[in-house]
Amino acid sequence: MSTTFKKRNIFLWLLALAFITPIITLFFLSFSKNWQFPAILPKQFTLENWRYLFFSGGNIAPSFVISLVIALSVATFSTLFGFIASKYIAYHKFRSKLLMLTYFPFALSPVIFALCLKFFFIKMSLTGNVEGIILAQLIIAFPYSVIFFTGFWSQKIKQYEDLVATLGGTTSYAFRKIVMPIAKSLILVCFFQCFLISWFEFGLTSIIGYGKVETLTIKVYQFITEANIFYAALSCCLLILPPVILLWFNKKFIIQQAK
């Protein structure tokens, strides 16, 4: 085994360790109780935290479901509408001006952006409910999706569409049979990214949700401010679960398909 190879292996192991250690620590903390300074290990290892949060008033399960519903809705709508809108923007004569507008939500921090929008959300009775949060998060995720897909609509895709038309196919036929299959991997990646944007969103959700809609991210912050590291660690474990599943799905299906 060459020295370079050994060095590379050590570096990869260190990198993997750097990624995995925090996750192991979180799981370790979620099963712990009574860990007081200067003790090296907690006094107790128990399932009590998990039991409390799921079955005895911790309300983690409903938060998990709410987060899942919000993230799936935001990912679905933003990917779908972003894909369609990006096509019209990409072929529009004012393409660069319209694209510049899509960067606007990212110019401000989400908290300031939410405060700017709050007035309109109150007027439309969209504060403190799931629909309002979905809409607020769409304001961030939709432009992201548009930016993500704009590069896809190249001259070549336009030529494919024109070719289908001269062969007798309608625009929708070209979309279903050629454009969608070509874009399939990109659509899945965008869905995954938008899901993550929504899943970890805190600023917009706390301001528009008024504290009435408790997503998993909001819960984590609550536990942290309560200085309950065990519950916070447990919620974090749940928080990373769906992205890990999506990442696995991404790797298994999209990367394998590309190969």
Partner: protein, 238 residues
């Protein structure tokens, strides 16, 4: 005339790409259109195919004005510079594409595609994906995909320009054979002098948005602007 183009004009922003183009073409004939890049030849084909809209003028096919007919209802196939095979479909499905749009029975599709694969010598490649075949084979598949729906008019926009010299010569011969076999009516755009002379029953030259059709090959060779004379001089003085 089978195809009649009357006073077509097209402007992009400030540039008049097509000034005033009129010509006619009989059925089962191929008209070569020679011209430099940016002279408006591709735009002319796209207008005839219905992909672009003209500012003025008419296109008549078999005496019928097709100006208001959508490109997918014109039954005129446009072949791009690149073969543009659909990357998600194999060779068989690429050729069958137009037939599937027309909702033919599966047995009919299979029979027609098999025949087409046979005449294009592509039978052993039918299950291959586009990235698994060569440039010349891709172009043959593109031809097959266009011919199988039996369009009254085919528009070829420099279809062999991306091929190497040898493959190009083979494809030119193949085109001549299938043009005869399938009685094709076509407009063949090229910037290659030799190709223009080889492919067309009639030859035209496009420059600055204006098209001139020559009476004969001799008239085309004698005209200074086509560059045939200077080409001959070059080889003679070598």
């Amino acid at each position: 005339m089978f195809l009649q183009v009357n006073h077509i004009q097209k402007k992009y922003k400030d540039k008049q790409v097509i000034q005033d183009v009129s010509f006619g073409l009989e059925a089962h004939q191929t008209l070569s259109i020679l011209g430099k890049s940016g002279c408006g030849k591709s735009t002319l084909l796209k207008i005839i195919a219905g992909i672009e809209e003209q500012d003025n003028g008419h296109v008549l096919l078999n005496g019928k004005n097709i100006g208001n007919i959508k490109s997918n209802e014109r039954n005129i196939v446009y072949l791009f510079q690149e073969p543009l095979l659909f990357p998600n479909l194999n060779v068989f499905e690429n050729i069958a594409f137009g037939l599937r749009i027309r909702k033919l029975a599966s047995a009919d599709i299979e029979q027609k595609v098999e025949e087409m694969l046979d005449s294009l010598e592509l039978k052993e490649h039918s299950k291959k994906m586009p990235h698994q075949i060569s440039g010349g084979q891709k172009q043959r598949v593109a031809f097959g995909r266009a011919l199988i729906i039996n369009p009254p008019l085919i528009l070829l926009d420099e279809p062999f320009s991306s091929l190497d010299v040898e493959t190009r010569a083979t494809m030119q011969q193949l085109y001549k054979t299938i043009a005869k076999k399938f009685k094709i009516t076509a407009l063949f755009v090229t910037h290659d002098l030799k190709e223009a002379l080889l492919m067309g029953n009639r030859i035209s030259y496009m420059d600055n948005g204006l098209l001139e059709i020559f009476e004969s090959k001799k008239a085309f060779i004698d005209a200074d602007k086509t560059g045939v004379k200077s080409e001959i001089n070059f080889w003679n003085n070598l």
